[in-house]
């Protein structure tokens, strides 16, 4: 049987950093082949080479047995290779039809549109979905945008389909449908490469899998021959399995929201009538599909946006509804923002400055006119060591040079320095690999056990189920359900997507 795609000895360096080192991959027609690995293992880079976005430094690529050179996205398309990138390559202001036409310009503007229309009608029957072709893509949901990407590939006649983390942004139900559809395409003879770090998807839907670690392909296997533990060990290098550890000492409420709504001033209400209470010593997990009001809630709690209605109390006595971020910090609120590079850290400032800024009003780093950088340096040094922030060659280095996991550890080191009473953690492990995520989770648990109340907002249901002692579900700006741990995954998932 000939391989649809055969990579051998592929290497690629970026600015001296070897992202891919002599990687091999063999994908057959008719199979769903999972490419598994942690963040930064080189999966996306390897696939970008196949899609023609990067040129490999070394190695050979064969498509259907013939050696080929892929000089650009057009070459890849001519070879029948299509890729759905993790961050969709869609022009948001264009309609789906225009986006598809952009990628498949054969036949010119007018005839091209007609050709695409007929191609889509034919495809709709075989893959069982349609999309609104006329609305701007930006107005479609994430799942719909993904469908546009898939249609874009299929209209172009792709026989080798690469999907980079396709299920990361989907609900469980949407993900199941997608994977079933990919199975169907494979059964019709296409080769599907599924780039993912979700072991569950792989075990249930892949025919074969290849594991990447540190830029190398280290094993190819069939899912049936391995159990989840062995697979994890291959991916991570060591076995780390996190187990749920429920709260022991739940105390009095430390944060309570009463009927909080956003909007006003003619803006759309994205958060309506949210009432919830978080006690000391517990982790409250707020689940939901992205864009259902979680970001607005986080911003209102951080103090960068104001609530249009409702009341926010700290420790039942301190009203912080209209308090400035500075006041909230002083009263014991700590925040781990979702976007650590825009809210969490000032990328261009040094690590020491980034650490010191959290407590700059206390006066211990000097007054308005004079900054005691040596104090800041030594405080940062202690914190960096205590929180195991790796990759710090000097405290004077720019924070931007830290990897995702270590940047997050720095944020946590700073936020936890003042022994906060309430911690808002928004997607704290997004983009982190298994080990870094585990470290972050351990910090959250120890803060909880130290008596803090933690609000964990996450789109990753696994993270919520693992950490939370109570679970709330956000759906279209409302808190629609609450569960006590251990919660039923199915029930939480349904609350996330129901349209009741």
């Amino acid at each position: 049987m000939t391989s649809a795609l055969e990579l051998s000895g592929i290497s690629k360096s970026f600015d001296g950093f070897r992202a891919i080192a002599a990687a091999d991959l063999d994908v057959r027609s008719g199979e769903v082949h999972a490419l598994l690995g942690e963040n930064g293992a080189g999966k996306s880079s390897l696939m970008n080479i196949v899609a023609g976005l990067y040129a490999p430094d070394e190695g050979t690529i064969r498509v259907q047995g013939r050696p080929v050179r892929i000089g650009g996205p057009l070459d890849a398309r001519r070879l029948g290779i299509g890729m759905v990138h993790q961050h969709y390559k869609l022009v948001k202001s264009f309609s789906a039809l225009e986006n598809i036409l952009l990628a498949n310009p054969e036949g010119g503007f007018a005839r091209g549109r007609a050709t695409i229309d007929t191609a889509l009608a034919r495809l709709a029957d075989s893959i069982g979905f349609t999309v609104d072709l006329t609305k701007p893509v930006g107005a479609l949901s994430i799942a719909e945008q993904q469908r546009v990407e898939i249609l874009k590939m299929l209209v172009g006649g792709a026989r080798l389909l690469i999907l980079d983390e396709p299920t990361a942004v989907l609900t469980d139900m949407e993900a199941e449908r997608l994977l079933a559809m990919l199975r169907h395409l494979a059964s019709e003879g296409a080769a599907v490469i599924l780039v993912t770090h979700k072991l569950g998807d792989v075990m249930r839907h892949a025919d074969r899998l290849t594991v990447m670690r540190n830029g190398k392909t280290i094993a190819t296997a069939t899912p049936g021959t391995l159990n989840a533990g062995e697979l994890t060990k291959l991916v991570v290098g060591t076995t780390t399995t996190e187990c749920a550890a429920p709260a022991q000492n739940v105390g009095a409420p430390v944060l309570s929201l009463t009927s909080v709504s956003s909007g006003g001033n003619g803006r759309r209400e994205t958060l309506s009538d949210v009432t919830l209470r978080i006690c000391s010593g517990e982790i409250y997990g707020l689940a939901g599909v992205g864009g259902n009001g979680q970001t607005e809630l986080a911003e209102i709690l951080m103090g960068v946006a104001t609530a249009a209605a409702g009341r926010i109390m700290l420790e039942e006595t301190v009203n912080i509804t209209h308090a400035a971020p500075k006041t909230r910090r002083a009263k014991g609120l700590a925040v781990i923002p979702a976007d650590r590079h825009s809210y969490g850290l000032a990328s261009e400032l040094s690590i020491a400055d980034n650490y010191a800024i959290g407590d700059v009003y206390s006066g211990k780093y000097g007054g308005v006119l004079r900054m005691k950088s040596s104090v800041a340096q030594s405080a940062a040094g202690v914190a960096v060591a205590a929180h195991d922030v790796q990759g710090v060659r000097s405290l004077a280095h720019k924070a931007a040079l830290l990897s995702g996991g270590n940047a997050q550890k720095l944020v946590i080191a700073r936020e936890f320095a003042g022994a906060p009473r309430v911690i808002l953690a928004h997607s704290p492990s997004r983009g982190l690999d298994v080990r870094a995520a585990a470290a972050v989770h351990a910090r959250l648990r120890s803060a909880r056990d130290g008596g803090a109340g933690i609000l964990l907002i996450s789109e990753d249901l696994d993270e919520i189920l693992l950490l939370a002692d109570r679970i709330g579900v956000m759906n279209r700006g409302r808190l629609v359900a609450e569960f006590a741990a251990p919660a039923d995954r199915q029930a939480v998932g349904e609350a996330m997507v129901s349209h009741g």
């Binding site: 600015d15 976005l53 996205p73 869609l90 022009v91 264009f94 952009l102």
Partner: protein
């Protein structure tokens, strides 16, 4: 009074054309995602080259206009190279182009003795029998070649931008160069081309000032029209027809200024000269207050494109 209005309206197109062409040039360039602040400079290049070419070659105004477009496109190669190839900050590159062109045009025209020399210029062409229509005939069908060309260019651009792959790709490059790149569009090439075409149109706008209207070259004669054109584009939300409407509005205001003075109405001269800029400011404030999420601005305007190598 009717005569006053008619005489005013008849000359207004001549004032509106430079704004319209410059604004369209900016739209062409900026649809590709390149922030183009050099309009004032490229108008000067066009104006000087047009006048110079007419003096040197004598008597061929259309050739002079063509030369002006070529010259502006040629100078814009520097800008395109800076922002597309070297990925220099587009604001700084655009501003330095203005100063470069101001200096360059003064230098060359003084050395060649082109400054303040009257030239023959463009004559109106009557499109018979339409030119015999009452009022409209004089207004729309008794104008010079550039006026007619402007209308044709606008229609052509509208067609290209809404009904061709060229337009689709141009917009894609300006909205999301990553997506365009993945779709196999050569982002750099499109941006380069858009800057050159845009500069050529702005050059034509400038040449029309010297060859078509003033029939003379004077240092710095663009007189801030390049900046007004930038404001017009923001006001028009990067839509050509709205830009045309704005250009007509500004043209009418500009045409009114000398007429009010000539009619003996006492308005301080400098106040009148200030009005286009007051209008520009008002337009910018209005656009900012609107705060509509759809400003029409190309999403990646001003952002250099780098294929997402690891950073």
């Amino acid at each position: 009074m009717a005569d006053f209005i008619l005489n005013w309206l008849v000359v207004s197109p001549a004032f509106a054309v430079p704004f319209a062409l410059a604004a369209l040039g900016l739209i062409v360039a900026e649809k590709s995602g390149v922030l183009f602040l050099g309009a004032e400079g490229f108008m000067l290049v066009g104006a000087m080259t047009g006048a110079g070419a007419l003096i040197v070659m004598g008597g061929h105004p259309l050739l002079a206009l063509l030369a002006a477009m070529l010259a502006a496109a040629l100078v814009s190669l520097i800008f395109a190279f800076l922002v597309v190839v070297l990925r220099v900050d587009q604001i700084i590159a655009g501003l330095s182009m203005v100063f470069l062109c101001q200096g360059l045009t003064s230098l060359i025209s003084t050395q060649q003795g082109w400054t303040n020399r009257p030239i023959s210029g463009l004559d109106p062409i009557a499109l018979w029998p339409l030119s015999e229509l009452p009022v409209l005939g004089r207004l729309l069908f008794h104008q010079d070649a550039v006026f007619y060309a402007t209308i044709v260019i606008f229609i052509a651009f509208h067609w290209v931008s809404t009904r061709s792959l060229l337009g689709l790709r141009l917009k894609a490059v300006g909205e999301n160069p990553d997506a365009a790149d993945a779709a196999g569009v050569n982002v750099g090439l499109y941006r380069f081309g858009a800057v050159l075409c845009g500069a050529a149109l702005i050059g034509l706008a400038g040449a029309y000032l010297s060859v078509g209207v003033a029939k003379i070259w004077v240092d710095g004669m663009a007189g801030g029209r390049g900046w007004i054109a930038i404001a017009l584009v923001i006001f028009a939300r990067w839509q050509p027809w709205r830009a045309l409407a704005g250009a007509v509005l500004f043209g009418c205001i500009e045409a009114l200024i000398p007429r009010i003075a000539a009619a003996g109405i006492q308005v301080p001269q400098y106040f009148m000269l200030m009005t286009p800029y007051v209008a520009t400011l008002a337009v910018m404030i209005w656009a900012a207050l609107l705060r509509s999420p759809r400003t029409g601005q190309p999403a990646s305007l001003g952002t250099p494109f780098v294929r997402e190598e690891r950073r």
